[in-house]
């Protein structure tokens, strides 16, 4: 079970948050939005201009700039799309 950077994950894949490296305030903000060690996170898409990136975590969608994404380390990556999608 190797760790990798969240930024290396492509849409459709998912992984479990392992650690957040950044400074305390940023970490607290990420925690409050559900980016917490032990939680599964899934890249959804990247905004048309190349940033920010949208993730699904704890039943919500959040957007992060690449600077924040690169601070997040994940484990247990499932690289293929496993999500069953029900269309609205």
């Amino acid at each position: 079970m190797g760790t990798m950077k969240l930024s290396a994950l492509t849409p459709g894949a998912s992984a479990v948050v392992h650690a957040i490296c950044c400074e305390e305030e940023l970490k607290e903000q990420l925690h409050a939005l559900g980016v917490i060690p032990g939680v599964r996170i899934m890249p959804i898409l990247t905004a048309p201009l190349g940033s920010p990136q949208v993730f699904e975590v704890m039943g919500t969608r959040i957007a992060l700039r690449p600077e924040e994404v690169s601070e997040i380390v994940v484990v247990d990556a499932i690289m293929e799309a496993t999500a069953k999608v029900k269309w609205a």
């Binding site: 990420l30 409050a32 190349g50 919500t60 700039r65 609205a88």
Partner: protein, 602 residues
């Protein structure tokens, strides 16, 4: 606790949980409900009586944590820490239960008596979420009540439970020992997640992908369709506003014109005849004709907010805004400012970085608000009837561009401190209710009507008095007080192409309220609304008209906006005086530029 003693209930919750909807349902108030992070930017209080029990309800800004980062989080934390709150009702979206419970643990750890109002159950069932609320309630050990906030369902049960809860001992859930071993030190997030996965997840079955976002985000945030969709939505919104409202406006001006024709035949004394014709029918009538336009403007802005689309525009523009030294967060005040700058300035509280927030507040002076719109619509309709709609959309684009350029300049002046971060939640897409949109639009239209009956009427009467004095002069002639005042001020704007008395006076009184500008143009012209066009086109060229429109777009924000900017600038409040100065300089400069370019091209 006895039934006679009044109690205080605080409403808290993450953004987009339906907190404001619940407050409206509980109190019958019509506060605006939005769907973007940070709708309630300051606490709102309401009093009500439930089954003989007096209750003060305090609606706090939507926050994610009791750790205070942003201005709105500080407001909430300060209130929860200091006041005697008897019960905290935390509104949660059951679709993202585990995330919302994070704040529940924080509230419990700080010793609060928490009732969970579980919202969006209908939506959850539709999306295939299966959960057992009773089991979850037992596990959490605190009261939970299912509600549907926007329909007011469950509100009685919620209040009953909250009041009854006061007679019960304060719950001391065992799981808190692991999650929040030391009160006041925050919670251990990892333990919170483990607790949820072990104890609550068995009663809560969720899909891996929340479908409610999926299809729409695939279109609205897609690499290829997102930006075309964005421009299409924005253009459609504004073109829609103009094209739908213009026949209604024609109808209203037609009515005033018909009335104008009748007044002349009544044989009234000239002064009274002039007052009715110029002030009431001409001036005020012209202002009132814009009611449908403003209604639609606020209706559409509320639609963008409530649907969840406005929250997503932050994502679309963020990269572009990064170039200007700000983040996508600054886009919400820009869009709201197209309606009214006052709520727009308040909305900057969601911006966490102080420097970015100061920039957003000041730059909002350049966003053309709904009060300035009548001037643009009137002038565009008279001088550029063939392509008025496109001209207006273009002018809006210019307004936003100037806002961004001002942001760049300020970012340079204020200097860079830390790199800006963007950590935001995308609101779920939700179908706005007609009731809420109408309520929101009516709130602003009512304000406009009240202003028309007071400030605007007063200004127009003032202008009329200046035009008829001293007695015996020809109405509005150079010999009247108005004419004299106009000729003193005219040289200041003469290089912009509109040095005539009526334009100068309209701008002068427009400082009080921008709506006055159209009213005073009509009052001074002394003709029916329908003939106003002929008067104005005889005075100035289309190039000067364009220059006038640009000047009106950018010069001095209204008094209410300046006041709210001052209070929101906080420790920078002493720089407020720069706002009128800066806007006048920019308005003059841009109008001059417009006039010179237009003269070459037309």
């Amino acid at each position: 606790m006895g039934m006679s003693k009044p109690i205080t209930i605080a409403l808290v919750g993450n953004p987009n949980t339906g907190k404001t909807s619940l407050l409206n349902a509980l109190t019958g108030l019509s506060l605006h409900v939005g769907n973007w992070p940070g709708k309630t930017v300051e606490k709102k209080e309401a009093a009500l009586t439930h089954k003989g029990q007096q209750i003060t309800l305090v609606d706090l800004p939507g926050i994610y944590t009791l750790h205070a980062f942003s201005e709105e989080e500080k407001v909430s934390k300060r209130f929860l820490d200091s006041s005697e709150v008897d019960v905290v009702i935390q509104v949660i979206d059951v679709n993202a239960l585990s995330r919302h419970l994070l704040m529940t643990y924080e509230l419990l750890a700080s010793g609060k008596r928490v009732v969970l109002a579980v919202n969006f159950n209908h939506e959850a069932k539709q999306s295939g979420l299966r959960y057992n609320l009773e089991k979850i309630e037992q596990t959490l050990g605190i009261p939970m009540v299912a509600i549907e906030a926007h329909r007011g369902k469950g509100k009685i049960a919620l209040l009953d439970r909250a009041i009854q809860f006061l007679d019960e001992p304060l719950p001391q859930p065992e799981y808190l020992a692991a999650i929040a071993p030391k009160a006041k030190q925050g919670i251990r997030h990892r333990e919170a997640i483990e607790f949820f996965q072990e104890q609550i997840a068995p009663h809560y079955k969720t899909n891996t992908v929340t479908w409610r976002f999926y299809a729409l985000d695939k279109f609205f945030l897609n690499k290829f369709t997102a930006l075309p969709a964005f421009f299409l939505v924005m253009t459609a919104v504004f073109m829609g506003i103009f094209s739908v409202s213009s026949p209604m406006m024609d109808l209203i001006t037609g009515m005033f014109d018909a009335a104008y024709g009748h007044v002349g035949s009544w044989g009234l004394p000239p002064l009274i005849d002039s007052f009715i014709g110029n002030v009431l029918l001409g001036g005020l009538g012209t202002v009132l004709a814009f009611v449908p336009l403003l209604f639609l403007l606020f209706f559409m802005i509320a639609f963008l907010e409530d649907s969840g689309y406005l929250g997503r525009t932050m994502i679309l523009v963020d990269r572009f805004f990064a170039f200007f030294g700000i983040t996508g967060r600054s886009f919400i005040p820009i869009v709201l400012g197209l309606g009214c700058n006052v709520p727009a300035v308040l909305a900057t509280r969601t911006i966490k970085n102080e420097r970015e927030r100061i920039i957003a507040i000041i730059a909002n002076s350049f966003i053309t608000c709904g009060a300035r719109l009548p001037v643009l619509v009137l002038m565009a309709g008279i001088f550029f009837p063939a392509y008025a709609g496109w001209l207006l959309v273009g002018l809006y684009a210019v307004s936003i561009l100037v806002n961004l350029l001002a942001s760049v300049v300020m970012a340079k002046v204020l200097g860079t401190n830390q790199p800006l971060t963007l950590i935001i939640e995308l609101p779920p897409y939700r179908l706005p209710t007609l009731k809420n949109l109408t309520k929101h639009a009516w709130f602003h239209v009512k304000e406009f009507l009240e202003k028309a009956a007071t400030t605007i009427l007063l200004c127009i009467v003032g202008i009329w008095v200046l035009a008829v004095l001293p007695f015996g002069v020809e109405y509005g002639s150079p010999e009247s007080l108005l004419g004299m005042l106009g000729s003193v001020l005219a040289p200041l704007v003469a290089p912009l192409g509109f040095g005539q008395t009526n334009y100068v006076i309209a701008l002068l009184f427009g400082v009080v309220a921008k709506e006055v500008v159209v009213g005073s143009l009509a009052t001074i012209a002394g003709v029916s609304v329908e003939n106003l066009g002929a008067v104005l086109t005889a005075q100035i060229s289309p190039a000067a008209a364009l220059s006038f429109m640009v000047f009106v777009m950018f010069y001095i924000p209204c008094v209410a906006t300046i006041a709210v900017m001052k209070s929101e600038l906080g420790r920078y409040a002493r720089f407020t005086f720069l706002i009128p100065v800066m806007t006048l300089v920019v308005a003059w400069g841009l109008a001059f530029l417009t006039y010179q370019i237009a003269l070459q091209l037309m």
